[in-house]
């Protein structure tokens, strides 16, 4: 495959103008809602995104952005770091358990409040902190009582700020709002960082446990297997790498493994071995079909299967053909290709299996059947 082919193929993927326009309209609507207190978020956002939205709260409050980098101011940094783990945990919990996705307010900021907030924000960053803390209430009724008295408060469950209705906020009150929002922002960042660290540590432990052999040992195992198969690797280039596997189970069960392969670009011949990093077992081996060794290997492996009481290739094709016909498809309209895998693979509980693929090149459709090498039972089809 040429690079140009790839670029050309992907270039056909494009967002239609109509879709773009719809997206623009939706984004505009969302931004307008957000400027009014950010009530109209989409429902599909998961809890993890609340962190981002909560961080946005301060942006909306002050019309300015605060990021973790802002904490570089030493006094502010010191203030944040003084928070106990319990406080951080409580703040994070507040955000995660809130019934809404973002902050709201009982009234918009006045122009002068907005201006003062911007000035106070700069001072806050420089070390001017409030004397007290923003009052938090536990119910809407309590919030209403504060509102009636003309006092500022915050109701975490609804993530709602209740500002004095009859007057402007004092500097102290603005600083309390800024302080609360900054602490909450910091708590979310700290909690996320802690979670990430824990995940990394867990993965590290799992990875260490999953890796018992070295890359060199993996190469030796692959080379031994190649010798067993009678492969002549003279003139081949050796490549090898470590693959840590993944949480998502792939065809190798997501285990950590080594990939060891030999390639000869002149003869277009490639041999691949995948070695389990935990125990050195061969997870899979693969050969490109241009290789005469490959064909020889396939024939030999199938013969071994028959000798052990398994079915032949012809029988496997027959079973797959029947399955196609059962599905109302005419196999004669398709190309048929086959492969046989011996029982070293972790797939299908270590069973030997045939893979029979019927391909309709013209309509770019294909049907793949995996059949038990023993009796031809369909193990998987798609």
């Amino acid at each position: 495959m040429k690079k140009e082919d790839l670029i050309g193929a992907v270039s056909y993927i494009a967002l239609e103008d109509e879709r773009q326009d719809k997206m623009i309209s939706a984004l505009k609507a969302q931004m307008h809602q957000s400027n009014l207190g950010f009530k109209g978020r989409k429902n599909y956002r998961n809890a993890g995104t609340k962190a981002a939205v909560a961080a946005l709260g301060l942006v909306l409050i002050g019309g300015m952005s605060l990021s973790a980098y802002a904490l570089a101011t030493s006094q502010l940094k010191e203030r944040m770091e003084k928070m106990t783990p319990n406080t951080i945990s409580e703040l994070e919990e507040q955000v995660q358990s809130a019934e809404v996705q973002a902050d709201s307010f009982n009234r918009p900021y006045s122009d002068t409040e907005q201006e003062r907030m911007e000035t106070l924000y700069v001072e806050y960053m420089g070390g001017r902190f409030p004397q007290g803390e923003l009052t938090q209430v536990s119910s809407e009724d309590e919030a209403a009582a504060y509102e009636e008295e003309g006092k500022i408060c915050f109701f975490p469950t609804l993530s709602r700020f209740y500002l004095p209705l009859q007057r402007e906020m004092t500097d102290e009150e603005i600083l309390e709002v800024l302080d609360y929002s900054t602490k909450r922002d910091y708590a979310l960042i700290a909690a996320a960082a802690q979670e990430e660290t824990q995940q990394m540590e867990t993965q590290q432990v799992e990875r260490s446990a999953a890796v018992a052999i070295t890359e060199d040992q993996a190469i030796e195992i692959a080379a031994a297997r190649a010798a067993e198969l009678g492969l002549n690797l003279d003139g081949f280039t050796l490549n090898h790498y470590f693959d840590e596997g993944s949480e998502r189970k792939d065809r190798y069960g997501g285990v950590a493994r080594y990939g060891v392969n030999w390639s000869n670009i002149v003869s277009h011949t490639y041999y691949y071995f995948y070695i389990n990093a935990a125990d050195g077992s061969i997870l899979d081996e693969d050969y490109n079909e241009y290789s005469r060794y490959n064909r020889k290997y396939k024939e030999t492996a199938i013969q071994r299967n028959i000798d052990n009481g398994g079915i032949s290739l012809e029988e496997a094709i027959k079973f797959a053909r029947l399955r196609m016909e059962e599905s109302g498809l005419d196999p004669d309209g398709y190309y048929c290709s086959t492969w046989f895998t011996e029982n070293y693979s972790q797939e299908f509980d270590g069973k030997s299996y045939y893979q029979v693929t019927w391909t309709d090149e013209e309509n770019r459709k294909f049907y793949v059947f995996f059949l038990d090498g023993k009796d031809g039972t369909i193990l998987e089809e798609h």
Binding site: L6, G8, A9, M23
Partner: protein
């Protein structure tokens, strides 16, 4: 002003992000959702970027992360045939290439896309995807190998017909 900015970024980066998301997710509807979410975050964050490249890299990183999240949690349409992708007319030859690309694991697709389509260097991809350069190299190598092999295998399939049918 805000409206103008929204139009500008969607026109500037909409297709780029959409392509990445389609390649990652193999689903046009999910790709659209993710692209919209990326723009939402962009507008919310109001970040300052050093230049357009920095901005573009940030958007790709967010798109990639969201795609990963979606792949992790998605239950619908786990696999989709290239024919079912509603991405307009694709010449047969291109469709074949696209199909080969889509068959790669998502992590490898992303690296192949960024390197070959967007022209990012290994070091840049490493920063965008937050993985080591070594991991990028290995994914590239595997992607290169698998793309080549898959194409060759499909050629052999056609030949195989003569002997087996």
């Amino acid at each position: 002003m805000e409206d103008k900015r929204i139009e500008e970024i969607v026109h500037l980066y909409g297709n780029l992000l959409y392509r990445i998301c389609v390649v990652m997710l193999r689903n046009t509807q999910d790709a659209e959702d993710v692209v919209q979410e990326v723009f939402c975050r962009y507008l919310e964050k109001r970040m300052e970027f050093a230049d357009r490249e920095h901005e573009k890299a940030w958007l790709i990183t967010v798109a990639h992360n969201l795609c990963k999240d979606m792949l992790r949690f998605r239950t619908r349409h786990p696999q989709i045939d290239i024919d079912d992708l509603d991405i307009g007319y694709i010449p047969e030859a291109s469709g074949e290439v696209l199909e080969e690309l889509m068959q790669l694991p998502a992590a490898i697709r992303a690296v192949i896309y960024l390197h070959y389509i967007e022209g990012y260097k290994i070091r840049e991809i490493s920063k965008i995807l937050k993985v080591s350069e070594n991991v990028v190299k290995k994914r590239l190598q595997r992607g290169r190998e698998q793309l080549r092999i898959q194409l060759e295998t499909s050629e052999v399939k056609a030949v195989g017909n003569t002997s087996l049918s």
